[in-house]
């Protein structure tokens, strides 16, 4: 079952912050975040494992609430290079596999 992402689209000015949410109805091993620019392959951002950890690098961080099976991606002081579509990918505990199920995506546009 596909995780639910929100919002579907965001338009920001440079320097503004954004939060993208990902929610699953299943118990999860992990949540992955990827960014895809138009015409390119998705690029890995980070993984969060069950245990409610928070990760980050530079101005992009994420959290995972294991009790709610929800993850949030935080983009701080956005840059033009942050534009693209963000996907969360979830690994459910009942699948017994390592294949990810991706959310519908959040289209982020950062304007000057």
């Amino acid at each position: 079952q596909q995780p639910v992402q929100s919002p579907q689209a965001v338009i920001l000015r440079e320097g503004e912050d954004a939060v993208i949410n990902c929610s699953s109805s299943k118990a999860l091993y992990s949540v992955h975040w990827y960014r895809q620019k138009h015409g390119e392959a998705p690029v890995f951002l980070m993984i969060l494992l069950k245990g409610g950890e928070q990760k980050g690098h530079e101005k992009i961080s994420a959290s995972f609430n294991e009790k709610k099976q929800q993850s949030s991606l935080y983009l701080t002081a956005s840059q033009l290079s942050y534009s693209g579509t963000y996907f969360c990918g979830t690994e459910a505990m009942d699948t017994g596999r390592r294949a990810l199920t991706f959310g519908s995506g959040t289209r982020l546009q950062v304007q000057p």
């Binding site: 390119e40 392959a41 993984i47 494992l49 996907f87 596999r97 959310g103």
Partner: protein, 115 residues
């Protein structure tokens, strides 16, 4: 990290024909997957390519339509058989270099158009 080479990068095919997409990884990986992505849409898993055995298909995808091979740890092919315009999409090969909790690497994709 792994670098994935995928070819062809794009093709235009006639209805009823078949196309085989190749995926080569530059290092040994444990898991390889094939995804499909409609323009502006999410990534949908087609199947997990298993080395030396039949692929594991997701609901809605069958071996007769999407035969997959993986003869070794670094190479896989996906064939789109008896194509129809509904098969027009981007097909992405991906791989992970560990048995779990590791990031997916993606090939650059094959953009398929069926006339």
């Amino acid at each position: 990290s792994a670098v994935i080479s995928q070819k062809p990068s794009r093709d235009i095919c006639q209805r009823g024909t078949s196309l085989t997409i190749q995926c080569q990884v530059d290092s040994q990986v444990t898991m390889m997957f094939w995804y499909r992505q409609q323009p502006g849409q999410s990534l949908t898993l087609i199947a997990t390519a298993n080395q030396g055995s039949e692929a594991t298909y997701e609901s809605g995808f069958v071996i007769d339509k999407f035969p997959i091979s993986r003869p070794n740890l670094t190479f896989s092919t996906l064939t789109v058989s008896n194509m129809s315009p509904e098969d027009s999409s981007i097909y992405l090969c991906s791989a992970t270099s560990a048995a779990g909790y590791e990031k997916l690497f993606f090939g650059s994709g094959t953009q398929l158009s069926v006339l």
